[in-house]
């Protein structure tokens, strides 16, 4: 819709949010996150249930077996998935499937992806030689999209890589690529795909960050020191207030970025890049405050807040050093660095 200036979820979006919130609250408590971390970082049962809810195909065209919903609807799911640190590569899978749908000529595959019976992902960074290093969901996905020298290619049937132990126990693995075929997706089309990943990951980060603050606030309303609830200390209150403000700003920016991509606004790519950087930084700050205000318990493995800290650190690094992302935005805004090699 255009021309409403509605910065909050619509009634329909709230309904989607509530349904998926309940789903993740029931199916994905942090014990599920911890159990997945012991293995590949992926929970197949959770993925099947999520597929039964229609999430993988939600934002794919109806003609290809999807639900024909907007990217903004998918973002609502990404938000609650992020809040629960859901061990499923929903964002990677969805943006890859959307890329294949846009490229055309892959109807059967896209239909499988819409169902969720096959898992897809993308190499966010170009492969070197025949290997794409540290691919998100590389330890579990069958279909892999990658982009190199202006050509986007799809491959399938290569063995998933071995998950490498990592900061947030994500299903990260190297992928040796063979039998890749070029698809009809030019560099703009590929960039759009990565922008969708950026914007949706920004939204997921907001979900993560809000939950990290909630966990921290709840703790400070229980813990007593010096005879009073630690939540009454203004130092803690102000740290949380700064974090909450930043996260609320990130929420508005991330949602605007998704909306801009969906409605093809001229500044959409810029907003997507900005949203990811700002949301990642907000989430890291929120998780840091929340760990800090747990005291020593926040550092202990037993408490959930440390999971949020580790995931906040990890997600954006799958794309690369944030400094490189700032530099990329700067190139677009100010032109390339003069005198640079």
């Amino acid at each position: 819709m255009i021309g409403l200036m509605r910065t909050r979820y619509s009634e329909d979006e709230v309904a989607v949010r509530d349904a998926f919130f309940d789903f993740f609250a029931n199916e994905c408590p942090t014990t599920t996150v911890r159990a997945a971390a012991e293995g590949t970082g992926f929970d197949p049962a959770l993925w099947s249930s999520l597929a039964a809810m229609g999430a993988p195909g939600m934002a794919l065209p109806e003609s290809l077996g999807g639900a024909g919903a907007a990217l903004t609807d998918l973002a609502v799911v990404a938000d609650v998935a992020g809040a629960h640190l859901a061990p499923v590569p929903l964002i990677e899978h969805a943006v890859t499937a959307r890329a294949l749908a846009r490229a055309g000529g892959h109807d059967d595959l896209v239909a499988e992806l819409a169902e969720g019976s096959t898992l897809a992902t993308l190499a966010l960074r170009p492969p070197t030689g025949d290997t794409a290093r540290l691919v998100p969901a590389g330890a579990v996905a069958d279909v892999l999209l990658h982009h190199c020298d202006g050509v986007t290619s799809s491959s399938r049937g290569n063995a998933p890589g071995i998950k490498l132990p990592n900061t947030a126990d994500l299903p990260l693995a190297h992928r040796v690529i063979s039998d890749a075929t070029a698809i009809e997706l030019d560099t703009d089309g590929w960039n759009r795909t990565v922008d969708e990943w950026r914007a949706l990951t920004a939204v997921a980060y907001v979900g993560l960050a809000k939950r990290a603050i909630e966990i921290g606030v709840a703790y400070t309303k229980e813990r007593i020191q010096f005879g009073v609830l630690i939540g009454t200390f203004q130092a803690l209150q102000h740290g949380f207030a700064d974090a909450a403000t930043s996260v609320e700003g990130a929420h508005l920016l991330a949602q605007r970025a998704v909306w801009a991509l969906e409605t093809e606004q001229p500044g959409a790519s810029r907003l997507a890049g900005m949203a990811l950087l700002f949301a990642a930084e907000s989430a890291r700050f929120a998780a840091d405050r929340s760990v800090q205000y747990h005291g020593g318990y926040g550092f202990s493995e037993e408490y959930d807040v440390q999971l949020y800290h580790r995931h906040a650190t990890a997600w954006i690094l799958q794309l690369g050093d944030p400094a490189a992302e700032y530099a990329r935005l700067a190139d677009a805004e100010f032109g390339p660095v003069m005198g640079a090699a």
């Binding site: 255009i2 200036m5 910065t7 102000h238 909450a244 609320e248 700003g249 949602q255 900005m274 700002f278």
Partner: protein
């Protein structure tokens, strides 16, 4: 979710841009003249356009402009560096008077405010009460048909160029502090008032104002006796649509980018080719987009008639704290050249960046300090207990 304005609001934006192109030029801004950002020609033009009356509801004799239109006017004015202070004070005072004022005030003062002939100022803060605004001690005592006012106000900005002050007074010292307050509109030509300048670390000035047995008829009372807190709430309500500060940074950032692009350092490199500078500028641009999100969010809430409090606090907190950082970083980038003030003919961009740097601290102080806004977010948004 939908982050686009209705077509009629976009049409209004086009109108505002054309208006600003015709009626405002940065050279009209001269803080050195009287220590304010006030530009009388611009104020008169806004009045003539009916835009001062705009946000006041139709039922109260105003223009009934929507909150979405107000934010767009606000945004375009700030992007053009047009001052919004006098507009804000005028609109808020007029709205207060229309909602709470006597017929006398509605018939005489409000038209003069809305057609740009008269200016007012805010008299909330006192030497001994700032953040704790409800602790105001300036006394108003009924004496026959008259009120006698005695006390002092601090930071009565624009008083020296204004015709009125909307004054918060104590009428009952024996009840809880919020329940003994009464508002008056006080004409500055009433005998017994003294205005003294308060210079600041920036070029702008404010005032201390003193009230020595100032006599007023009951016509000048605004709202119920001891009902001052309700009037204060109206003031806050109207700040929603008009109060600004969300777009303070863009003119400073633009000037910074311009400098970084066109200035050569001693070693022949340009600051804009320095990766550290580029990252800082991009971060500032991101903050601007976050502020825009907050501004539109508040406008959306106000447009739906929702009262917002914490959202306004978050907006103010984020916009002013990031503005301070942007000023600091951009000023730093200029090195010694950045030290030249607007009085210097050699100052870059007419001293805009240096002036913004010295002005920036106050943005996190007036209109509710950052600490007060953090308290509001902690209690109102996060549900934390009242702080110790």
């Amino acid at each position: 979710m939908d982050f686009s304005f209705p077509p009629e609001v976009e049409a209004f934006r086009t109108e505002v841009k054309a208006f600003l192109a015709d009626n405002f030029d940065e050279s009209m801004l001269d803080v050195t003249h009287d220590g304010t950002m006030h530009v009388p020609e611009l104020h008169a033009a806004l009045a003539a356009e009916g835009w001062l009356a705009g946000p006041v509801p139709k039922e109260l004799g105003g223009g009934g402009r929507t909150a979405l239109e107000s934010i767009v006017l606000n945004e375009e004015m700030q992007l053009a560096r047009a001052p919004i202070d006098a507009m804000g004070v005028t609109v808020i005072t007029a709205a207060i008077l229309m909602e709470h004022g006597s017929d006398h005030l509605k018939e005489t003062v409000v038209p003069a405010l809305l057609n740009g002939e008269a200016l007012t100022s805010f008299g909330y803060t006192e030497p001994e009460s700032g953040s704790d605004v409800a602790a105001a001690a300036t006394k108003a005592v009924k004496d026959g048909d008259e009120w006698a006012i005695n006390g002092a106000k601090m930071w009565t900005t624009m008083a020296h160029i204004a015709d009125y002050v909307i004054l918060l007074t104590r009428t009952d010292p024996d009840v809880p502090k919020h329940k003994g307050l009464t508002f008056f509109l006080v004409p500055f030509d009433t005998p017994g008032i003294e205005i003294q300048p308060v210079p600041t670390m920036a070029t702008e000035r404010s005032n201390a104002t003193f009230y020595d047995d100032v006599r007023l008829s009951d016509d000048w009372r605004v709202g119920e006796v001891n009902g001052g807190w309700a009037v204060m709430k109206t003031a806050l309500k109207y700040e929603r649509g008009v109060a600004g500060g969300q777009f303070m940074s863009p003119p400073v950032i633009d000037a910074g980018i311009d400098w970084a692009t066109n200035h050569e350092r001693a070693d022949g490199t340009r600051p804009i080719d320095d990766l550290a500078v580029r990252e800082r500028l991009i971060r500032a641009q991101i903050d601007v987009e976050v502020c825009r999100g907050f501004a539109y969010h508040c406008a959306d809430l106000a447009n739906e008639g929702a009262m917002f409090g914490v959202e306004g606090s978050m907006t103010k907190l984020f916009a002013s704290e990031t503005f301070k950082r942007h000023c600091r970083e951009i000023h730093d980038m200029m090195g010694a050249e950045g030290l030249l003030t607007l009085e210097s003919p050699e100052a870059h961009h007419g001293g805009l960046i240096e002036e913004a740097l010295r002005h920036s601290p106050v943005t996190a102080i007036y209109g509710g300090t950052s600490e007060i806004n953090r308290n509001m977010v902690a209690e109102g948004f996060l549900g934390l207990p009242r702080a110790r």
